[in-house]
C-alpha cells in the first residue's frame, strides 16, 4: 500500500532535530506551568526544581508525575494554564468514579489535536477526495469532534453521523459512499454485523478503511472487522487529558502506533517505582504535553500498559511507536489476585474463529471470586447433543485458562442476546460486594 503522510516534515523528521524541538518545547512548557499553574509551582518547589533546571528531554525524568486524581482534586478548571478568553473548547471524560475530568483547549490546542487526527487519517490512506464517516459520539466525549476536525484539516469531507441508529449508519455508508469509518472497534463490528443482517454486500460499498479507538482491541478483533466490512482497520489512540484521539496512530505496517511526540512526549515507567523503562519493556505510559497551551500536563500517568519502540518504521516515519495497549488499568479486573483484561477474552474468542461478543460476570461465592464468560452460540458450535456442546464449552474454558491463568465458567447464550454497543462496549458485570 502506498504511504501517505499529512506532515512528513515532522512524521519523518530526523531524530536529532525532533529531539531539539522537544527540548525547546519542554523548557517553554515547564516555565509556563511554573508561572501560570499554582498546583505545578507548588509541586516543582516541593521537588526543589526550578524551571531553568530543565534544559532538555533528558531532564524530564526529574519532574513529578501528574495523576487523574490531581485533575479531580482541581475540578473543574484548576490546572488550566490560560485565561478564559483564550479557551475555545471544553471536553470531559465520563465520571464513573467520582468527578468527571474536565479538559480545555485554546485555538492552538484544537489545531494540534486536529494535526494528530489528520496524520492518523492520512496514514490510513485517506485523501482530500475521500468521505469520512464519523460514528463516534459527538459531545463531551472527544471521539466525534476529534476525528471531525482531523478530517476537515486533512481536507476530506466529513459525514458527521455520530453514534446510534445502526441501520441508518449502514444506509448512509452505502448511499453516501463513505470511504473511511471512524468509531469504536466494538461499534465497527456491530455495523459490520448489521450490514450482513441487512444483506448489504460490503464488497460493493466504497468503504476502504477505518480508524477505530477509545477501547483496547486485539488482532483477532482487527481481522474480524476487516473481514466483516472488507476494509483495512487501523488503531488510533488518545485520551482527553492529553488531547483526544490522534495522540498516536497506526500506519499501514500495523505494527505499533506512531506517537505525535512533537506535541506529546511519551515515557514508559514502572508503575510501582516510577522508574523510566527502556524500549521494549512493558509499563505504564506517561505523557508530557509539550505542545499544548490550556492544559499542559507534566508526566501524566495514563494507566495504559504498553511499550515503546524508537526504531525507524518501514513506512518511513521516525516517530516513536507504542505497542497496541493491552488495556487501561481501569478496565483491568483483579480476579483471585490475577489481572484480567477484557481484551484477553477477545483474543481467545477470535482465535477460535468466533465473533467477540461476550460479557464477563464476576461474582464472589464463599469468599472466592468467580468468573463467568457469556458467549453467544453460533450455528457452527451448535449440536443436537448436550455432550458436543459441553465439549465446546470445555475447550473454550481450557483456552481461557491458558491465557488468563484462572479458571472461568463458559456459558453459551442465544445469538444476539448480548447487547451491542454504539460507543465503548460494556463487557464487565462485577457483582462482587467487597
Amino acid at each position: 500500500m502506498e504511504n501517505h503522510y499529512f506532515q512528513p516534515e515532522v512524521e519523518c523528521a530526523d531524530r536529532e532535530s525532533l529531539r531539539a524541538l522537544q527540548s525547546q518545547r519542554l523548557r517553554e512548557m515547564i516555565k509556563r506551568c511554573y508561572e501560570k499553574v499554582p498546583f505545578y509551582r507548588k509541586k516543582l518547589d516541593e521537588a526543589g526544581i526550578k524551571p531553568e533546571d530543565i534544559k532538555s528531554v533528558d531532564d524530564i525524568k526529574r519532574l513529578p508525575f501528574t495523576t487523574k486524581n490531581d485533575l479531580r482534586d482541581n475540578y473543574p478548571y484548576g490546572l488550566f494554564a490560560v485565561p478564559r478568553e483564550e479557551l475555545i473548547r471544553i471536553h470531559a471524560s465520563s465520571g464513573t468514579t467520582g468527578n468527571p475530568t474536565v479538559v480545555g483547549y485554546t485555538r492552538h490546542d484544537v489545531d494540534v489535536w486536529a494535526d494528530g487526527a489528520a496524520r492518523a487519517l492520512a496514514a490510513a490512506g485517506c485523501t482530500t477526495s475521500d468521505f469520512v464517516h464519523v460514528s463516534y459520539g459527538y459531545g463531551l466525549f472527544t471521539g466525534g469532534l476529534g476525528l471531525h476536525y482531523g478530517a476537515e484539516k486533512l481536507g476530506a469531507a466529513v459525514i458527521p453521523v455520530s453514534s446510534g441508529n445502526t441501520q441508518r449508519q449502514v444506509q448512509i455508508l452505502k448511499d453516501f459512499g463513505s470511504n473511511f469509518l471512524c468509531c469504536t472497534p466494538s461499534y465497527a463490528a456491530y455495523i459490520g454485523e448489521t450490514c450482513r443482517d441487512m444483506g448489504v454486500d460490503t464488497k460493493e460499498i466504497a468503504l476502504r478503511g477505518g480508524i477505530f479507538g477509545a477501547e483496547a482491541w486485539s488482532e483477532g478483533m482487527r481481522e474480524n472487522i476487516e473481514k466483516l466490512l472488507n476494509i483495512n482497520a487501523y488503531d488510533i489512540y488518545g485520551l482527553s487529558e492529553i488531547a483526544g484521539p490522534g495522540v498516536s496512530y497506526e500506519c499501514p505496517e500495523k505494527n505499533g502506533l506512531h506517537v505525535c511526540e512533537d506535541y506529546f512526549y511519551p515515557e514508559i515507567i514502572n508503575p510501582e517505582t516510577g522508574e523510566v523503562l527502556p524500549d521494549g519493556e512493558y509499563g505504564e505510559l506517561v505523557f508530557t504535553c509539550i505542545g499544548k497551551e490550556a492544559l499542559p500536563l507534566i508526566r501524566y500517568r495514563t494507566r495504559d500498559i504498553c511499550a515503546l519502540n524508537h526504531e525507524k518504521c518501514a513506512c518511513g516515519r521516525t516517530l516513536v511507536r507504542m505497542a497496541k495497549p493491552r488495556g487501561r488499568t481501569d478496565d483491568m479486573l483483579v480476579i483471585r489476585g490475577v489481572n484480567v483484561f477484557p481484551s484477553q477474552i477477545e483474543f481467545v474468542l477470535t482465535g477460535m474463529g468466533l465473533e467477540p461478543n461476550y460479557v464477563l460476570v464476576v461474582d464472589r461465592a464463599h469468599n472466592l471470586d468467580t468468573l463467568e464468560v457469556k458467549v453467544e452460540m453460533t450455528p457452527e458450535m451448535f449440536s443436537d447433543s448436550v455432550k458436543n456442546i459441553e465439549a465446546v464449552e470445555r475447550r473454550m474454558a481450557a483456552k481461557l485458562h491458558t491465557v488468563l491463568n484462572i479458571s472461568a465458567k463458559v456459558t453459551l447464550v442465544e445469538p444476539k442476546s448480548i447487547a451491542r454497543s454504539e460507543g465503548k462496549a460494556q463487557r464487565i458485570i462485577d457483582n462482587r460486594k467487597i
Binding site: M377, F382, S385, V386, V413, S417
Partner: protein, 143 residues
Amino acid sequence: MIIKQLSIFVENKEGRLSEITQTLADNNVDIRALSIADTTDYGILRLIVNNPDAALSALKSEGMTVSLTDVIAIAVPDTPGGLNKAVKVLSEKNISIEYMYAFLNPRKDTAFVIMRVEDNERAIKALTDGGIRLMHNDEIYSL
C-alpha cells in the same frame, strides 16, 4: 428411513419456549413429538414436525439457533418387552444410542420411538435384520 428432527438451542430464560411454539403455530407447523435435553443454563429442544424444512426456515428467520438432525423412528408393539427387543438388537451390534424418546399412536397398539444413534446406516440394517419395523418419513410427518 431417515427422519429430520429439528434441534433448537433454548437458553433457560422466561418466555423462550413460548416464542418458539408461537413461531411454529404462526407457520402452521404441527408438532408430532418432542423432547427436551436440559442443563443448568440451556436446553436443546428436539422436535418432530409435519414440515421440518418450513419450520427450520421460520425459526431461522427469527434468529434462533436451529438445525436439522438425522434420526430414525421405529414402531414397536405397545406390550411389555416391545422396546426391549429393539434396544437389544442395537446393543448386540454395539451401536450406541445417543438419546431417544417415544410417543404412542392413539389409533393402534403401537408405540413409536425416535432414536438418535451413532451410525444410522448400521442401525437401520441391524433393526431391519432383527425384525423391527422402521418408519418411513412420510408416515411420521403425516401422522
